[in-house]
Amino acid sequence: MTGGLNLLIALAMGLNLVALASSRLPSVIRAAATQGMVLGLLPLLLEQEFHWMVGLVSVGTVVVKGFVIPHLLRRALRAANIDREMEPLLGFIPSLLLGAGATIGAVALGGALPLRPEHANSLLVPGAFATVVCGFLLLMGRAKAISQVCGYLILENGIFLFGLLLIRTTPLIVEAGILLDLTVAVFVIGIIVDRIQREFDTLDTRKLTSLKE
């Protein structure tokens, strides 16, 4: 079972790098969505006995992260009529290198941390670290609002991975609540993207500095 778990987490870590390296926005969205779906399956693998609530959350996560959110984002993309991150603050190759470095660092850190025996052999903690850092890299390195939303989604996926460490103690309703928050946040950002586009004729968030003071 740990083998299957680690395989999925490794897949999620690979998707981080895909998101960091691609310049086309649809593929970034796709990477984030796939990662969300992969992570949505994890609770099923972690739970020893099947519980209908776990199944519900799993299905909900897959549906929301894999279909609803990407759909909302693609719609915003169409409305804004863009599909490329033209001038990132941090280039694609440097992002990729930094992301790879962060992934290696996360694995090393996971080895150094005093974890509980049942988590010692899994990639859960390194995967969570790597995903959070890659989410931050996307947030910091990209100028377009859509890419930043994707960075935010990936960051949330990392937090979700951390949350899995506590799956026995966290009520699943909390997970469900987080999911709802996320959907609403992306929905709102979709609207904001549309408004920014109409007002500034661009989605470059650097232009937002003109709003300060």
Partner: protein
């Protein structure tokens, strides 16, 4: 009438004056002077009886019941405030008239009363919270009085500097009173000498009250504020307001225990202030700025007395401490009297000529004999020459220092340099006032305005005469004022209640009377001879130069040039000169002025460093979301690092 009723009359008089300042200036004058007389009477009652008046009400301000207390020490300072306040009010009527200053004169009168009232309250409140409130009101009202002529840039700059420095001091006092209240559990003030854990608070008090008192190097605000204020305000600021700092130091070093080093530090700062204050004064060409630096010098003399008294108290209440303290306290009165007299005299010169620049004055003795005579009287007093009051208080400090020499130990070692430097200070002060009187009042007028000067009127002359008389009275009969000093020093240190005047003081009084009688006799003889033989006027010897002009006279700068040269290391005078070297020189010029060294070489560089750093830090806030996230990440990483290193324990 008891002091309580007198103080009530004084307070009401001040309030009536505040209200009537805008419409009825005669009512204002009457109310203010009545209130000054009432306060003086209350102070005299307490000083004479040696009893403490305490007033408590259930009425609360800020949750604290009002608690007033007029003991010997408060009364000692209150007497000075009342005398100078009354004299300044009368002077202001003629000096800062409604005709010349239609807007600032009326509001200035109101602020004047706010200032006097709150200084009086500072002296009598016995509650930490109320002390802070009236202290702040006193500070702020002084700011509005300093900036009467705020259309002038240098006045605004001076006011701003005063406000900033005062608030730095008030901040220390907030910390002081808050820590005190935290330790004692309430805001009530009073003697708590036995609680040794309060001793370190003295350093906060020294910083806060020291800034107000203007001791070196905390004096940065003082010269410009005193020079740019109207002269009656300069007089009250220099005569009383900076003494509030001294009052605070004396009060709380008496009520609270002090650290072992406190006496040494206070005496050391006193010596520093005394010598450097007079050195800076010598470098000034602005009459009022020069007088302001002399305040730093005299605060230094007061602190030498206080510092040695604290050393004596720490040494088992040695008797020489009482002499030093008596000298310091009497110098509070004396400096208040003669400095106010000098500022009023300088105001009279400024009123008549419109300039404070000494190099544009000269020969004013002929046109302004009253002002010149009274100013010279003040100059003799401040230089510490017999038979006037300055000599009495400095003599008492000297006596304390000489007796400390016989005590053996470390204090004796400190007393020798202190006595020597105090002597140097007196000599330098004398040189400085020879320069002032010589340049301003003697010789020939250096400019048109000095030629057209006129004598001031009686409303300006009477306050100066009153102050001059007080100077002479303390000088000729110091023994009469000894009981007041004893009452004040007993409030500071109950062990020192020796009521008999020391023998040297009696001798000194007799000596002063003889000197004064001889001087009067000599003056009379000279006057008779002059009348008998007639006066023949002739040109002074001009080295054979055919056409001397007033511009060839010694200037203020050249007069003091040699002495300021000795202090070049600290004064750092700025000199712009074009020295002629050809046989027929076309152009030559020489300019020298002494900046405020501590301000320009310490405070301003430090301030601009802070500005540069803050501007650089401000660049971090630019509105780019991506970078803000980076800051977050860096912060998180730093926290994680701290936690991993085990720093979180």
């Amino acid at each position: 009438m008891t002091p309580g009723w007198l103080l009530l009359v004084a307070g009401l008089g001040m309030l009536i004056g505040m209200v009537s300042a805008f419409r009825a200036k005669r009512v204002w004058l009457a109310a203010t002077i009545t209130s000054a007389v009432a306060a003086l009477a209350a102070a005299a009652w307490v000083l004479k009886a040696g009893a403490t008046w305490v007033g408590r009400t259930t009425l609360a301000i800020g949750g604290e019941p009002i608690h007033l207390q007029l003991d010997g020490l408060s009364a000692f300072f209150l007497a000075l405030l009342a005398l100078l306040g009354g004299a300044g009010s009368l002077y202001a009527m003629a000096y800062w008239t409604d005709q010349q200053h239609p807007v600032s004169a009326t509001s200035g009168r109101a602020w004047w009363n706010v200032l006097l009232l709150n200084m009086g309250l500072v002296l009598i409140v016995a509650n930490g919270l109320h002390f802070l409130i009236v202290w702040e009101l006193f500070t702020v009202s002084a700011y509005f009085l300093i900036t009467r002529e705020r259309h002038r840039r240098e006045v605004r700059a001076a006011g701003w500097l005063y406000l900033a420095a005062s608030h730095a001091g008030t901040l220390c006092l907030f910390a002081f009173f808050a820590c005190l209240a935290a330790h004692t559990g309430n805001w009530e003030l009073g003697s708590m000498r036995e609680r040794m854990e309060l001793a370190p608070l003295f350093w906060l008090a020294l910083a806060g009250f020291g800034l107000k008192a203007g001791l070196f190097p905390l004096h940065i605000w003082l010269p410009s504020a005193h020079a740019n204020a109207p002269s009656h305000v300069s007089a009250i600021l220099s005569g009383v307001a900076i003494k509030m700092g001294i009052y605070g130091l004396v009060r709380f070093s008496g009520w609270l225990p002090v650290p072992d080093l406190a006496g040494w530090v206070v005496a050391g700062l006193g010596v520093l202030s005394a010598v450097l204050g007079v050195a800076f004064a010598l470098g000034q060409h602005d009459l009022k700025r020069l007088l302001a630096y002399h305040s730093v010098e005299n605060i230094g003399i007061i602190l030498i007395g206080l510092g040695f008294a604290m050393m004596a108290a720490a040494n088992g209440h040695a008797a020489w401490g009482q002499l030093a303290l008596a000298g310091g306290l009497l110098h509070v009165w004396n400096h208040g009297l003669f400095k106010a007299l000098l500022f009023l005299g300088a105001g009279s010169v400024l009123h008549a000529t419109g300039t404070r620049e000494m190099s544009r004055l000269g020969g004013l003795w002929r046109s302004m004999p009253w002002t010149a005579g009274l100013f010279t009287l003040g100059a003799v007093a401040i230089s510490g020459l017999p038979p006037l009051n300055g000599f009495v208080s400095e003599w008492l400090v000297f006596l304390g220092l000489f007796d400390a020499l016989s005590a053996r130990g470390a204090t004796a070692g400190a007393a020798i340099p202190a006595a020597v430097l105090l002597g140097v200070t007196g000599a330098l002060a004398l040189a400085c006032f020879v320069k002032v009187c010589g340049v301003v009042f003697l010789g020939l007028p250096r400019s048109k305005v000095a030629e057209q000067a006129h004598e001031c009127g009686w409303p300006m002359r009477i306050p100066m005469i009153v102050l001059g008389t007080a100077c002479v009275a303390i000088g000729l009969a110091p023994v009469l004022f000894w009981p007041a000093i004893v009452t004040a020093s007993a409030a500071w240190q109950p062990f020192w209640s020796e009521t008999a005047a020391p023998a040297p003081l009696l001798t000194l009084g007799a000596f002063h009377l003889v000197v004064a009688a001889l001087a009067a006799l000599a003056a009379f003889a000279l006057w008779r001879r002059a009348r008998h033989n007639g006066i023949r006027r002739t040109g002074t010897w001009d080295c054979g130069y055919a056409a001397p002009t007033p511009r060839m006279q010694y200037t203020a700068g050249s007069f003091a040039g040699i002495i300021t040269g000795w202090f070049r290391w600290i004064l750092r005078p700025e000199r712009h000169a074009r020295i002629p070297n050809e046989p027929f020189p076309a152009h030559a010029k020489f300019e020298e002025h002494t900046p405020e060294t501590v301000l320009e070489h310490v405070i301003e560089p430090a301030g601009s460093l802070v500005m540069r750093v803050s501007t650089a830090v401000r660049r971090l806030q630019h509105g780019r979301l991506q970078a803000y996230i980076l800051y977050l990440l860096i912060g998180l990483a730093a926290l994680a690092l701290v936690a991993l290193m085990g720093g979180g324990k």
